[in-house]
């Protein structure tokens, strides 16, 4: 392909990536070092609001932003260096908690609480997704050709459901007197409140995530299984290898690049865990890094939002993803070099 054709094909996509990924990223990076705030003045104001029958008037000192001649709020932007990162990480408090050996205190500081959950969630679901995915793929592969279509369809279903809807349906099945909780209560003959402590919520979240993502892994692995060298499998059978040995010595090594691919996608995805937090409204017990960014960005009733801290937190989240991806990437890089 000559360069011109190549450029015409790739150009639009590079442009879009710059416009929608690179530039916003640079802007977020920049905003994490600056703070923009209105200039406030303190004035005495009388405000009258309805009581039930009469009017209540109060006079008090209030802070109100200054407006310019066009009626716009005057804002100032100034460089604060790493202050926003410090506000998110709260290093002094975190360090005090660590040096006291108090894990408990550390886990009440927002960022560290979120990091703890995000990492647990990511690292526990990863092997489960790969394992279940492989299991389903092998199941489909061994199913009789006549029922293979329906089996693929059924096993893909969880992946098709929109994440938020999926989470909400799990939520309502297990919340309060949801159908499944009611059944378990009847069966175990005791009161069950799954949303009343952190660990049950976390377990539900992980079960949901594995249920949701395993079909994706399965379909990738199923495609990979079609390319396993049948000759080596047959010779393994002749040599008397068991099913397990065939899987361990032939199939899994063959699928390894796909397993790494699925792991990387899953690491990136689950490190950004968010729908589960909102859907289960678990903020009281469990929060994630992505949710923290969302929370900083949500304006309160008076319209304040913490853009700088949100930017800093999302940069930190990105750094976390990169750190997690280093291991699988290094392996891919080594394999890649080895193949030449």
């Amino acid at each position: 392909m000559n360069f011109r054709t190549f450029a015409v094909f790739v150009g639009p996509s590079v442009f879009m990536m710059l416009l929608f990924i690179a530039f916003p990223l640079v802007s977020v990076f920049k905003q994490s070092f600056y703070v923009t705030q209105p200039i406030y003045e303190t004035v005495e104001k009388e405000t009258c609001t309805p009581g039930f029958l009469t009017q209540t008037c109060v006079t008090e000192q209030v802070s109100q932003p200054k407006l310019d001649e066009h009626g716009e709020i005057i804002t100032q932007t100034h460089y604060v260096g790493l202050q926003s990162y410090r506000n998110v990480l709260e290093p002094e408090r975190a360090w005090r908690a660590i040096s006291d050996g108090s894990w408990h205190v550390l886990s009440t500081i927002n960022f560290w609480k979120a990091l703890r959950f995000t990492l647990t969630f990511t690292l526990i679901t990863l092997p489960l997704v790969v394992g279940c995915g492989l299991g389903i793929a092998i199941l489909i592969n061994n199913a009789a050709r006549s029922i293979r279509g329906p089996v693929i369809f059924v096993s893909l279903l969880p992946f098709i459901i929109t994440p938020v809807i999926g989470v909400l349906s799990i939520n309502w099945l297990f919340r309060g007197d949801g159908i499944l909780t009611a059944m378990m209560e009847w069966w175990l003959n005791r009161d069950i409140a799954l949303f009343a402590q952190a660990w049950t919520i976390e377990v539900l979240m992980m079960i949901y995530r594995v249920w949701h993502v395993a079909p994706f892994a399965a379909i990738i692995f199923y495609a990979g299984l079609q390319t396993v060298n049948q000759d080596s499998l047959e010779s393994a059978v002749i040599d008397g290898a068991t099913r397990w040995q065939r899987l361990k010595y032939i199939v899994i090594p063959h699928l390894m690049p796909l397993i790494i691919f699925v792991s990387m996608i899953h690491l990136m995805d689950s490190y950004r865990v968010f729908e589960e937090i909102v859907g289960f409204s678990s903020q009281g017990y469990v929060i994630s890094l992505q949710w923290l960014t969302f929370d900083y960005l949500t304006p309160d009733q008076a319209g304040n939002r913490s853009i700088s801290r949100a930017s800093a937190n999302s940069m930190l989240t990105m750094i976390g993803v990169v750190v997690l991806l280093i291991l699988p990437l290094r392996r891919t890089w080594r394999d890649h070099k080895g193949s030449h």
């Binding site: 309060g176 799954l194 903020q283």
Partner: protein
């Protein structure tokens, strides 16, 4: 050609018979409104639509959209629905207009306490008030010989008796969902104890005896609540009541009508509305109002039409047709038993919600920080100190506290 004529005729006849049948005048200026989406707003905007050329957005995310939409020139919405808290950003940005001239021209039927005045200028017209107050099952309490609870001490001992008698496992309901709801519960309790939120220069002042007392009451209540209280919002509590699972709750007056809705409630006529329980100082609740504002970025003719349409929306017809939907501020409103709780709380001296820029931040910090105390992760003092620290960080970033 023929089809078009027929369509036009059809449209005209629908318009003539239905659309502005009940409106005193025919509106020919295109108008739009953006407000919250609860029952009262639905009634009011439906009535506004009768004047024609009007469309309403009932949107629970209105508070995120309103400031930007009103800052546009011309404004994207002419009429806005606000409450005392969501008025603050619009007032700060100067995107809503004073209404005094319009009130003088058209507002003869308005009650004096409907006019929201800031520095002497009318900036909004209130249509209803709302407050959380005690609702209880009078049949359950009467059976056990318990009198109407007046304080949180009474509420707790009533709950203990109900639990002991085996009537209900969890007699109390509460809007304790982490975030805004839980923050509001603390605001109610803390004001009931007579506390104030800020010291000089917008510095926080909640780490004190009143704060601790408020926290302790909240925690004591959770002993008698469904253990999943941190996910329980107003709708959840309303349903608990309707299904007969709880006997008492501090719930919004705007939810009162749902208790007697025969289509979904099993406790019709059994729930009494009482004043919010007393704190040490005043009833532990806050009074809210909802009402309309007009954007400044539109022509005076548009403002004129918008004001008249808005008044049509909250006129006596609307109020008498929807009497039980809200505690209306109107001469046509006949306060029934459903409004008794809000009225009694107000008479007891309940404070208005202290809406302001700093309070917005404080409410968020409270909503996010209180759960750690209720779950036992922190003690009361640490919780309050951490909430103050969180507030200071956010307020500095917002420019409300100088560094």
């Amino acid at each position: 050609m023929k089809l078009k004529t027929i369509l036009m005729a059809g449209a005209m006849s629908i318009a003539a018979t239905g659309s502005w049948a009940d409106c005193a005048f025919e509106n020919d200026v295109p108008l739009k409104s953006l407000s919250a989406g609860f029952e009262a707003w639905k009634a009011v905007t439906d009535a506004m639509a009768e004047c024609g050329n009007f469309s309403a957005s009932l949107d629970q995310e209105f508070r995120e959209k309103q400031p930007e939409a009103f800052a546009a020139d011309p404004a994207l919405y002419q009429i806005g629905g606000v409450s005392n808290a969501t008025l603050v950003p619009l007032l700060n940005a100067g995107t809503i207009r004073p209404l005094d001239d319009l009130v003088e021209k058209y507002g003869q039927d308005l009650l004096p306490n409907q006019l929201i005045k800031v520095d002497g200028k009318t900036m909004a017209i209130a249509m209803m008030v709302n407050a959380q107050h005690l609702m209880y099952r009078d049949d359950v309490l009467a059976e056990l010989g318990i009198e109407e609870p007046k304080t949180y001490g009474d509420v707790l001992s009533a709950a203990a008796k109900i639990k002991e008698a085996g009537v209900m496992d969890y007699p109390i309901g509460g809007t304790f969902k982490t975030g805004w709801n839980l923050g509001q519960e603390f605001v109610n309790m803390y004001l009931g104890e007579g506390g104030s939120f800020f010291g000089d220069g917008n510095m926080p002042a909640i780490n004190n005896e009143q704060g601790v007392a408020a926290l302790e009451t909240l925690k004591a209540m959770t002993e008698y609540m469904d253990p999943e209280y941190l996910v329980s919002d107003s709708t959840y509590v309303q349903q608990q009541f309707q299904q007969g699972k709880i006997a008492m709750a501090n719930l919004w007056a705007s939810r009162a009508a749902a208790m007697n809705d025969e289509a979904e409630s099993q406790v019709v006529g059994k729930v009494t509305m009482a004043a919010a329980p007393m704190g040490s100082a005043v009833p532990a609740t806050t009074i809210w109002w909802d009402g309309i504002v007009l954007a400044s970025n539109m022509s005076d003719e548009e403002a004129d039409a918008a004001f008249r349409v808005a008044l049509e929306g909250m006129d006596t017809d609307t109020v008498s047709a929807n009497n039980d939907v809200a505690v209306w501020l109107s001469t046509a409103y006949s306060a029934g038993p459903l409004a008794a709780g809000a009225a009694a709380s107000a008479e007891g001296g309940a404070k208005a919600y202290p809406a302001s820029g700093p309070m917005g931040i404080m409410h968020t910090s409270l909503g996010n920080g209180l759960a750690d105390y209720l779950t036992g992760a922190k003690d009361a003092q640490t919780t309050l100190a951490d909430i103050e620290a969180d507030y200071v960080t956010a307020a500095k970033e917002a420019g409300l506290i100088s560094n």
